[in-house]
């Protein structure tokens, strides 16, 4: 059910200066970004930055206070039914139906989209196979491990064959095996051309998985771009990390105008020039300093600060 103005070059999702306030507290203060068809877009930020609030406004759970949100060229505020039929949402907490078995969870959920029974059954079987849950279809809710529950959440989110899949921290709290399985499945979906919007704290995974991402903090977009570009622009190619450096080092770096951060007792110097960083290590911290490639985590911490968020 696509509308006539749904051109292929049009962004799947477009936010323009979106705001949300709860009483006096402004959770989202003017967020703008766009996601193109087939793209995987990451929304990164510390806890309380406004990620989940933003996502909830996108899928129509929370009404926005100001700005514009267009999905498939339509406004979620008026075309909520048409838009939500084309969305898949995997919420942060477990919202599986505990009164239903694994298979029933998929069938009943498909029903909410008005998908006919026979079609729902075919899709459910297909999804159970895809998410390695075939042997578990009669399992009751309490028999599911954390990893299985999350896979089922994801399977349920795509039972309506969405054009945009929204994932709110899909891997939080999972063990490494479950996490890897989940990323593999997400990668499969991405290769099949699914457009994905996700929030995550898993920097390494975001770096590998997202085509583009934006970091938001205090309800605003701090920076946006592709992972490699962001690392190059905000950190550089290399990082020199030192545990408890002598005070002279920081003084030297400040005087030289170097790019560096402090995090507790640690000091991190960024740069593209490997030789210069090695020389620095030789001079101040031959033992305790180590050189490593700069990562998205460096960008994240540089952009949002290193202090603890609570």
């Amino acid at each position: 059910m696509r509308s006539a103005n749904d051109a292929t070059d049009q962004p799947v999702l477009e936010l323009t200066d979106v705001r949300k306030a709860y009483g006096d507290f402004e959770a989202v203060r003017g967020v703008s970004f766009a996601v193109s068809r087939g793209e995987c877009f990451g929304l990164l930020g510390p806890n309380g930055a406004g990620k989940t609030t933003t996502i909830r406004m996108i899928y129509g759970f929370s009404p926005r206070c100001a700005g514009e949100i267009r999905l498939f060229g339509q406004d979620i505020a008026t075309a909520f039914r048409r838009v939500k039929a084309r969305l898949g949402v995997c919420q942060q907490g477990n919202t599986l139906d505990p009164d239903l078995s694994v298979l029933e969870n998929l069938l009943v959920f498909a029903g909410y989209f008005g998908i006919p029974r026979a079609e729902a059954k075919a899709r459910a079987e297909e999804l159970l196979a895809f998410f390695a849950l075939e042997g578990k279809k009669r399992f009751q809710y309490e028999e599911l491990s954390g990893g299985m529950a999350r896979r089922l959440m994801l399977a349920r989110a795509i039972v309506n064959r969405p054009e945009l899949l929204i994932l709110d921290e899909p891997t939080t709290g999972l063990d490494p095996q479950s996490r890897n399985t989940l990323w593999d499945r997400l990668l499969d979906l991405k290769r099949q051309g699914m457009t994905i919007l996700l929030t995550t704290h898993a920097m390494e995974e975001a770096e590998r998985f997202c085509d583009r991402l934006c970091i938001i903090d205090h309800g605003r977009v701090v920076t946006e771009g592709d992972p490699a570009g962001l690392v190059a622009a905000h950190a550089g190619r290399h990082a020199l990390e030192v545990e408890s450096p002598e005070p002279a080092m920081a003084e030297h770096l400040a005087a030289a105008g170097a790019r560096f951060d402090r995090s507790g007792r640690r000091l991190i110097v960024y740069g593209d020039d490997k030789a210069a960083l090695l020389a620095l290590r030789e001079r101040f911290c031959a033992e305790s300093g180590f050189l490593r490639p700069a990562t998205l985590e460096d960008v994240f911490l540089r952009a949002t600060g290193r202090e603890l968020r609570e």
Binding site: Y59, G60, A79, F80, G93, D97, Y112, G114
Partner: protein, 261 residues
Amino acid sequence: MTTDPRFTWLFWTVWRRNLFVYRRIWTINFLPPMLEPVFYLLAFGLGFSGLVREVHWNGQTLSYTEFFAPSMLAATVMWQAFLETSYASFVRMFYQKTYDALLATPLTVEEIIIAEIVWGATRAVIAAVLMLTVIALLGYVPSLHALAILPIAFLGGLAFGAMGMATTSVTSSIDMFNLPIFLVITPMFLFSGTFFPLTGLPAWASGMAQGLPLYHLAELTRSACLGLLDASSLWHMLALAACAAIFIPLSLAGMRRRLVK
């Protein structure tokens, strides 16, 4: 661009989900409405009939059990619908996060809440039919008017289901439901012309009792069982419809406030 409708037939899918879960444990769900009348009628028939020889109601002279048996139908409708949209809906909303999941589909708050209330009414109808069958087998339903119990139970179920849902919309913890149950539902159960006719009461008390929805429901179930449905029954129907018409919008407004953040 046109705005999508807030309410469509998609609400049946939520109703269907509840029916599906109910059917799975139908043995447990079916037992109380079938056993309750047997216990009550035994207790009142054996133990009470010596104390109360006859009851005068609406110009009729009835045995106590004849008077009381239809009251149980009304009370069951009230309990089934109210408990479903209070405790059970609260569990789905608060603990199971079912509504959160539903709101990520094309369903709206309005559809979810109406489906829950209609489901509460459906449960009430199922229980009433089971109980009616038992009461009829025991010989307390001499009239075919009793078939009207189906729409009556549904209407009553909507009224009490809406009352339960309105309560849920303002309840912060599950223990809080004790309060409306102890202060509203239980007194209503006792004072709605269910255990004794209102005619014996002082005018002020009988006047107050006539403001209770269960009074109107009990009058209807008794008239239906005894084959005495007439024009005055329409007034009782209207009273129940008015109750639903007040509490359904209250539930919707309360739930919108609660769920849409």
